[in-house]
């Protein structure tokens, strides 16, 4: 048995992936709290989820694009958090990579750019990885935990850097910007130009072309960074953790993540099963005990509680019905867990905790449970 804390070990980057709605951001933050409490490491959690409750729980008024230090985590380490602001990060990136200030400003002012930064396919994913690269380069933290966007059945954030590089070096881009550079439109580009003009209108195609001409000035910077990000992700000091619950859809999605990450030879160091029902609900003895309880005389309880027999019967029946409902769920979960434990990736089970996590104490508790959770690492 190994703990999740051991598994993360000396990783410098931990990337949490998984479907949405399963407590991924909270787990990432809780893990950050745990590492800052139990080691002397400086930890940064980068989140994409603007949960106000998380900011509240950390005692912060809000979480912004720049890192904020969380006070009083109660340990030797230090915890900071930052929320990824796509627009602000893109603007910063353009300023950094543009050949000169005039070009940067022309890009920032371009109507297409303004629309695109919010909606560019994978712009969020790309910028998340770009930000990670920048943070690693700055070397202000010993551990950076990145909470990825909850994409479904997609690892876009992994592909985004290489796609961005491909995008800049694509033939299509060259066709598109060739006329604007004063060259002759290539034969192959002609059907596209004709149809695009007809459907989209010449002015729009012109706008797009200008935008890409400007963006093209940053080609070398983009491509080089993209390659560096790829190397960073594959590095031994980078650990991927997949998080899901035991419901069927999240498990299916998590399986996809585990498979895809492994196929890319990235280090999947654990599969965290969050919000698992208490094992006592699935225990084999419980069914028999409930049967005898259903026929049991309640006289003794009348004396002990002062409640009347009818109320006690009603409560007993309600408790039994409630348990039967959740027992089915818990049994299915147990079976599912056993199946997942037979895989190569160590499984860490996190029981559902009392109440919602609305303050640091809750986050600390969850963090301790996560950090100490045991799984089997197969050699």
């Amino acid at each position: 048995m190994t703990t999740l804390g051991d598994v993360i070990g000396t990783s410098k980057v931990v990337i949490t992936c998984g479907p949405g709605g399963i407590g991924k951001t909270t787990c990432a933050a809780a893990l950050g709290v745990a590492v800052a409490r139990s080691t002397e490491r400086r930890v940064l959690v980068v989140t994409v989820d603007p949960a106000r409750r998380l900011a509240d729980a950390l005692g912060l008024g809000g979480i912004g694009n720049d890192a904020t230090v969380v006070h009083d985590v109660g340990g030797a380490g230090e915890l900071s958090v930052a929320m990824l602001d796509t627009k602000a990060s893109w603007d910063a990136l353009i300023r950094r990579h543009a050949p000169d200030a005039t070009t940067a400003q022309r890009i920032l002012d371009n109507a297409l750019y303004q629309n695109i930064t919010g909606r560019f396919i994978q712009s969020h994913d790309y910028i998340a990885m770009e930000r990670l690269h920048e943070l690693v380069e700055q070397d202000l933290y010993d551990l950076i935990i990145v909470d990825t966007p909850p994409t479904r059945n997609a690892l876009d954030f992994l592909d985004a850097p290489s796609r961005m590089a491909d995008f800049f070096s694509s033939r299509l881009l060259r066709w598109l910007i060739a006329p604007a550079r004063g060259g002759v439109v290539g034969f192959a580009a002609r059907p596209f130009s004709q149809i695009a003009d007809k459907i989209l209108g010449g002015q729009f195609v012109g706008d797009i072309t200008e935008f890409f001409l400007l963006l093209n000035t940053m080609y070398d910077g983009f491509v080089q960074r993209a390659r560096e990000v790829e190397m960073l992700l594959a590095h031994d000091d980078t650990s991927f953790l997949v998080i899901s619950t035991l419901e069927s859809v999240p498990v299916t999605e998590a399986e996809f993540f585990v498979r895809e990450l492994s196929e890319r030879h990235l280090n999947v160091r654990g599969w965290i099963l969050n919000r698992v029902l208490p094992p006592s609900i699935a225990s084999d003895d419980l069914a028999n005990a409930m049967d005898s309880l259903s026929h049991a005389e309640l006289a003794a309880a009348v004396d002990a509680t002062g409640a009347d027999d009818a109320s006690l019967r009603r409560v007993r029946d309600a408790l039994v019905s409630n348990t039967r409902r959740w027992r089915d769920v818990a049994l299915a979960e147990r079976q599912q867990t056993q199946q997942l434990q037979s895989r190569d990736v160590p499984v860490f089970t996190i029981p559902t905790l009392d109440g919602e996590i609305s303050e640091l104490a809750g986050l600390t508790l969850l963090g301790d449970v996560l950090y100490g959770a045991e799984g089997v690492v197969k050699s």
Partner: protein, 311 residues
């Protein structure tokens, strides 16, 4: 007053990832089809989930019939572009679609609204041509759906001439008409989903011309314990008098503690939701499906309980 769901011709079902958006879209489609409407259910977000919901092989652009009334398809922007070119440009495209689609894909990557318009255009087209009584769209998740609904306007502001420009007008007419079109926001009674739903409803109001039709709160666990008995249940859990003292019954009280927490969290977030939305917007409570384990079984359950809402 919000027009009733059964009269709508175009419904977009959206929600935060993990709340059961696809299940609700599938259940709603099934319920409407059972009521005798010809329904087209179109997946934009994730085709595999929807295929599972009807135990079908992977979906394609060409609709497949589930039964007499219900057809299911998956959006495919290249196929949609092909259909579009065929209908509007009468282009001899069969041999040339490859490079055109690749080029279009490239522009669509960069230009906001181009990819989205092919999706929105296709579903609006099905509504306009009256091939079906109702088109239900398993739409992208909350963060992205407004980009789709606002695509016609986004394109209008960027494209001043050309065929697409003239196409956006009739789409906007369908999307803006509250008696025809609506958005169904699916949520669960939890913090993030509720907060995203409230943001979504604001964004729909501010950034699109489309109207919200209903909020569905999914997986709400009905109370078995009536409120007046909660104190007694609590007392039994702490005192554990005979015959509740059997240690094998720990699970009984663990299950109640779990259910009680869920009740409390649910109540709190349902209140936040109700306070944050217009009182005229219907809130549909969809009970947690205990016992149903396959997607298809859950969809059948959901359809049965939604049948009342649309009757």
């Amino acid at each position: 007053m919000t027009p009733p769901l059964r009269q709508r011709r175009l419904l977009f079902v959206t929600g935060k990832g993990g709340v059961g958006k696809t299940t609700i879209a599938a259940g709603l489609a099934r319920a409407m089809a059972s009521a005798g409407r010809r329904v087209l259910l179109c997946s934009v977000d994730d085709r595999s989930d929807l295929a599972d919901a009807f135990s079908l092989p992977p979906l394609r652009f060409e609709p497949v019939r589930v039964d007499q009334y219900l057809s299911v398809m998956a959006m495919d922007t290249e196929a949609s572009l092909r259909e579009y070119l065929k209908i509007y440009l009468k282009l001899p495209i069969v041999g040339r679609i490859g490079p055109v689609a690749a080029a279009f894909d490239f522009v669509a990557t960069a230009a906001p609204g181009v990819r989205e318009i092919l999706t929105i255009g296709k579903v609006c087209y099905e509504v306009r041509e009256e091939h079906y009584d109702t088109v239900i769209v398993d739409a992208p998740a909350t963060g992205h759906v407004t980009g789709y609904l606002a695509a016609p306007q986004a394109l209008q502001s960027l494209v001043r001439v050309g065929l697409i420009r003239s196409q956006t007008d009739w789409m906007l007419q369908i999307l803006s008409d509250e008696s025809l079109t609506g958005v169904i926001a699916v949520t669960t009674a939890e913090e993030m989903p509720v907060s995203e739903t409230l943001q979504l409803l604001t964004a729909i109001r501010q950034d699109t011309t489309t109207h919200a039709a209903a909020v569905v709160v999914n997986r709400v666990v009905s109370d078995i314990l009536v409120p007046r008995d909660e104190a007694l249940a609590q007392q039994l859990a702490t005192q554990r008098p005979s015959p509740f003292d059997d240690p094998r019954l720990d699970g009984l009280f663990a299950a109640e503690r779990f259910a009680a927490q869920r009740r409390e969290v649910s109540r709190e977030h349902l209140n936040v939701l109700r306070d944050g939305i217009p009182s005229t917007l219907p809130v549909i409570i969809q009970p947690y499906c205990f016992g149903a384990t396959t997607s298809a079984a859950i969809v059948a359950d959901v359809a049965a309980s939604l049948a009342e809402e649309i009757s």
